[in-house]
Symmetry: C2
Subunit: 95 residues, 2 copies
DNA sequence: TTATTAGGTTTATATTATAAAGTAGTCTAT
DNA sequence: ATAGACTACTTTATAATATAAACCTAATAA
């Protein structure tokens, strides 16, 4: 039987977020929005889901006068992503 | 920006179905159920979605006295699966 | 002959994703 | 100094999707 695909990561937007964070290490809300093409609302919701699960950390501060939301992968998040990729390979006929 | 992930294929169960059919060429309902671990109801629904989209063909007949549902990938389905795999790779940090 | 099993489908419910609307504050031009 | 537009989000409502429960029809077993 095939491995389960972590439902938290098996979502186009959350996968795009995590994918971006895996290479960028750290990213702002607005940058993530531009990268993914998501609406702010959708992005906000999905970031919070990832945060609640402990996959990312969210740091809120100010850049100048404006609020700034920084997102960073946690150790757990990185592990989960790697496990997800491994599980996924089983589905893609990688011999 | 990342490619879109075909929502019809980006579902654990439908992906498992299509993945199995890509190698098996042809498979029975009951075999797919055993392979995927899905309930019959869920499998029935997802197979019909794939059929409605033209990704698979469903042939109904009888084996002995019992009904038999055979599933086969269509040309379109195979193409869509390959495109999905290509799109997905962008998300998985494959350099 | 009733009751259990095979092989499904249909319908209802729970979950998830997405969009619309709202919040709080800032900048800009008049 | 203030109306209007903009930044950077969050919350809430709605649409889409997945899953489970219930149902169906016929076959076989006790």
């Amino acid at each position: 039987m095939l491995k389960e695909l972590d439902p938290l990561l098996h979502s186009q937007l959350r996968l795009a977020i995590v994918s971006a964070l895996m290479t960028a290490e750290e990213a702002e809300f607005t940058w993530l929005q531009a990268q993914t093409g998501a609406t702010a609302g959708n992005l906000s919701v999905q970031l919070n889901k990832l945060k609640d699960a402990g996959y990312i950390e969210i740091k809120k501060s100010f850049r100048g006068n404006y609020p700034q939301t920084l997102c960073i992968m946690t150790k757990l998040g990185k592990e989960k992503f790697k496990a997800y990729v491994e599980a996924l390979k089983e589905y893609l006929n990688y011999k």
